[in-house]
């Protein structure tokens, strides 16, 4: 098979796929090494960018897919009108972040971190397909354990969970730790406001 045919076949398949197609699948269908697939996809993506196409070939959630170019979002928004993905609430995002980084994780563990009940928000995330049950805690309670889905990766535009920025990056800096520490230091003797 020529490189041209590999490239063309990839284009054709991705045009009819309705979900990201893994390079391994493409390799099997086209009977070429996976590395060739990845090289061909990289080349195609570069070509589209070069030609200033209104679409792009991207790698997301472990596979390749066609999508509209972000520049043209205003036109797409006018075109689709309905069916736009609704925004995620702060509660949903925080819960998603915890599940993403700590998976597999139980409902209780998520609740303990957030300090609030998370039943409703977890169910919504499940309904929207961003979170799923991935197993059971082997412990006595056999609590359901949750993890994120490929759809979650698509939603945040990441290829895999490994692409999440390291959590350490978000650990509060010394200034914040100090402020919290200061703020929670047991009050010394004098009552506040006493000095006016």
């Amino acid at each position: 098979m020529t490189t041209l045919e590999t490239r063309r076949a990839i284009e054709a398949i991705l045009m009819v796929a309705d979900h990201p197609v893994e390079p391994a699948v493409l390799a099997q269908l086209l009977e070429v090494p996976r590395a060739d697939i990845e090289a061909a996809c990289d080349a195609l993506a570069a070509e589209y960018a070069d030609h200033q196409r209104g679409f792009a070939l991207v790698r997301v959630a472990g596979g390749y897919r066609f999508q509209s170019h972000p520049d043209l979002a205003p036109y797409i928004e006018r075109f689709v009108l309905e069916g736009q993905t609704s925004r995620l609430s702060a509660a949903a995002l925080e819960t998603l972040a915890i599940v993403a980084y700590k998976q597999p994780i139980s409902r209780m563990q998520v609740a303990a971190i957030r300090g609030v009940n998370v039943d409703g928000v977890l169910r919504t995330l499940q309904q929207r397909g961003y979170v799923m049950e991935v197993g059971r805690d082997p412990g006595p309670g056999t609590a359901v354990l949750f993890g994120t889905t490929p759809l979650f990766l698509e939603r945040v535009g990441l290829d895999s969970l490994d692409d999440l920025p390291p959590l350490a990056q978000f650990v509060p800096g010394a200034d914040v730790v100090e402020a919290l520490e200061e703020g929670l230091r047991p009050e010394p003797v004098v009552e506040p406001g006493g000095g006016g």
């Binding site: 999508q67 972000p70 998603l96 609740a111 971190i113 039943d119 698509e154 402020a179 200061e182 009050e187």
Partner: protein, 269 residues
Amino acid sequence: MRSAAGRGLYARSVAYKVQTPVYEGPFDLLLHLILRDEVDLYDVSLGAIVDAYLAELDRMRELDLEVATEFLLIAATLVELKSRRLLPGDGDIGLDDELALWEERDLLLARLLECKTFKDAARQLEAFAVEAGRSYPRTAGLEERFVGLVPDLLEGVTPDDLLAAAAHALAPRPRPAIDLYHVTPAKITVSETVASLVEELPLAGRTTLRALTSSAVERMEVVVYFLALLELYKQGLVALTQLTTFGTLTVEWTGGADTDLTVIDLYEG
């Protein structure tokens, strides 16, 4: 004009009332209170934080007891931290108590840090999602000429599978239930406490929360008593008075001598 002297507690609580954000739980609120004034990092007063925290609890009038528990547990820790050395007779706190308080404080600090970490991670995820949301995937699917080739999608799907899927989809959304599992396991429930208070209080005359909870070992028990009193207060069965903030909470039975428990809309703990 704002005088220099006014820049303390009062200024904070006024500024506080202007905003009406919705807090996602007590950590959210506490983080906001401690960190909102980033300029004043070294000028954060526990007293001001506690006051603002309690003011916020007060503002959340429709706060139900389920949500309140977590808020109140944190409030209890805060108040304990604040009032530790103010209370008469506390000069001789044992070393164990002192250590326990610090431990409690460190635990709260650790949980706040963890919560803050994920809040910031969530913000990054949101940025990713916003960026990714500007691109729309192709989902047109197969052209008609290929559709006939697709193997039967319902292969192996039984009517029972349909039933299970329908039941799952149609199941009523769970009512947020009280979750005490990550705090001290409650040895007594609010409804039990309500029941016992209904028996005790008519005989006790005027009493105080402190007296009622004198035998309480865990802070959780005090909170449970407090919640039970609130419940009775809502039912109009007790009068609660507190002359000063953090002062003694006086409890007085105002219901009849013989109140039928069944008329009380018991709080299901």
